[in-house]
């Protein structure tokens, strides 16, 4: 299949590719927004958007058009669009490329999104470290404003739209949507209980849609092509997973990077064709499919989906590497598609050291609001320390299951699952290696992954 496309990435690498003239010249810039605002009603835009089968690119994979349709006009309160650009999931490096190299797609997406959901203001929440991203977004906003695409009457339409960049200050948890809203409002980035969902009460207590940055950047392309045609670019659009998306690949590959392809690409194609294969000509050992919270897959795993209703059933008995990367197909494999940026580990990588590295990440980033997550992530990390030090008992190894299982479902937000799922994934897939550490047969084999926690 391997259908590389360049709708979102055509301007990548062009001289001044991030500026308005290049965006207009190369990508039909702002034609989609102009058409939406001047020839369609907001309701039409939402109806059309649903046909794109554009699954949220932030990790959860919720259908974008359906999310927009949850927004109901409020008698007294304004609505807001908030764009999640707090990219920080280990292994995820796609949104930054859009902000740095194609920021106008983001701004144009915001215009269409605001119009669809009845908002007049969009906030793009960018993690503070991404200074170049912020600069490029602000420049794009200024250029769009000067051209009359933003402001009181975009494209001459009496529907004001403003876009602002807001920055965090270093907290992975702010990628969780309600935590992000608290941070936008100037508070500690602690997640909120749901319900109420953001569509009822989000930013500043008002109806709010939160979309991932890549999701909103794909909207102009979908509308330009026609949302149904956009959906059909995907090899698995019949599974309601449409369009094109950015695929990232990192770790032990020869050509790490971000590649745009039709949805439905397989891990094998991503690793070997786009990623150029494993470094040093080694064999593939394991791959984390879409950010560190998505459970790891071993290279030799096969699909176990005997149920004909399972989205992964057509690949039953085949290698997991040959399953199209889709939201539902990967859920059926017992993992997740997540952000669709794969972290590749070659033979010789120590899975216990990798586990240790990630558990330190989660301990550092737990916001501390919920006890099972705050204490559990610390406990997981301490047992990982003992494993590497060769002082972990079999009983403590077994307790990892209990600790992780007791985080799941017992926290306000999905960070708990995001910690427990990869922990349980590593334990399940690499039990033998973990036990070898306990028995003293292995020790600190890959100390290069042990870098200490962030300070």
């Amino acid at each position: 299949m391997l259908k590389q496309t360049n709708y979102l990435t055509k301007v990548y690498g062009l001289p001044d590719g991030w500026t308005l003239p290049v965006y207009e010249r190369e990508s039909h810039g702002y034609e989609a927004a102009r058409r939406a605002l001047t020839t369609m009603s907001p309701a039409d835009v939402v109806t059309e958007a649903k046909k794109a089968n554009l699954r949220g690119r932030g990790g959860a994979g919720f259908p974008m058009g359906v999310k927009w349709s949850f927004m109901k006009p409020h008698a007294k309160k304004p609505a807001y669009l908030v764009i999640n650009a707090d990219e920080g999931e280990p292994g995820t490096h796609k949104d930054r490329t859009l902000m740095e190299r194609n920021p106008h797609a983001v701004v144009e997406g915001c215009i269409i999104g605001c119009y669809a959901i009845g908002a007049h203001v969009a906030y793009i929440y960018v993690r503070d470290e991404l200074h170049l991203s912020k600069e490029r977004l602000w420049q794009a906003i200024r250029e769009a404003k000067e051209k009359g695409f933003l402001g009181q009457t975009p494209f001459g339409k009496d529907y004001a739209v403003d876009v602002f960049v807001h920055t965090g200050a270093g907290a992975y948890i702010c990628g969780e949507e309600t935590s992000m809203l608290n941070s936008l409002e100037g508070r500690r980035g602690e997640p909120r209980l749901k319900p109420p969902f953001p569509a009822q009460s989000g930013a500043f207590g008002c109806p709010t849609t939160v979309n991932n940055l890549e999701t909103i950047a794909a909207v102009p392309t979908a509308f330009l092509l026609g949302c149904e045609d956009f959906s059909k670019l995907s090899a698995i659009h019949t599974l309601n997973d449409g369009g094109v998306r950015l695929f990232g690949v990192n770790g032990h590959v020869n050509k790490p990077g971000v590649y745009e392809c039709a949805v439905g690409l397989t891990l094998r194609e991503l690793i070997y064709d786009l990623g150029g294969g494993i470094t040093g000509g080694k064999a593939l050992f394991a791959v984390i499919p879409g950010g560190s919270s998505t459970p790891v897959l071993r290279a030799e795993e096969t699909v176990n989906a005997p149920d004909e209703k399972s989205p992964a059933h057509p690949w039953h008995g085949k290698s997991v590497l040959d399953v199209p990367l889709g939201v539902d197909t990967f859920r059926s494999l017992g993992t997740m598609l997540g952000t669709c940026c794969a972290t590749v580990m070659a033979e010789g990588t120590d899975p216990v050291a990798a586990f240790h590295n990630l558990m330190q990440f989660y301990r550092h980033e737990s916001c501390g609001q919920c006890t099972p997550c705050r204490e559990g992530s610390g406990w997981l990390s301490r047992i990982a320390d003992k494993l590497l030090a060769g002082t972990c008992s079999m009983q403590e190894l077994d307790s990892l299951y209990d600790i992780a299982s007791n985080i799941m479902g017992n926290t306000i937000c999905a960070f708990g699952e995001g910690t427990a799922m990869p922990a349980l994934g590593f334990l399940k897939k690499f039990r033998g290696e973990f036990e070898a550490y306990v028995r003293g047969e292995r020790s600190g084999r890959d100390a290069r992954l042990n870098i200490g926690s962030a300070v």
């Binding site: 920055t167 990192n250 870098i451």
Partner: protein, 162 residues
Amino acid sequence: MTFALTPERERELVEILARYPTEHSKMAACIPALHLCQDQIGWCSDEVVTFVASRLDLPAAHVKGVVTFYSLFNQRPVGKHQLWVCRTLPCALRGAGEVLAHCEKRLGIKAGETTADGAITLRTAECLASCSTAPMIQVDKVYHENLSLPQVDTILDRLQKG
């Protein structure tokens, strides 16, 4: 010693306040205001907390709570330059450990410490969204990606000179 923003940064704060709904704007400007202050003196001292609280009509406890939540707000003075080595798995797989060890050796300090001349604070960071250009370090506001050890040396040389 009291703290105040420079006139230019004060103008920027006024601009920032206009981005948010009026009745929520002072609270919403809390994080951007703290960034402005930290840009000015390098950290969020108690004087900065007092200033932001009074400027934005917020309880000082709220502002302090925000400062202590976010890892990029410095709660003590740092070096003239801050250098973060990304430590998380994708960078670690591509040699972040060696990069950090090299920096520690060259600078004679451990991660989390500042050189005796106050020039450089060496830190480690969790994933900086640069996984396909690993290993990487962030120096102040700039990313340096796809690094080899000689390239790290070039960066350190430049920082130590000025």
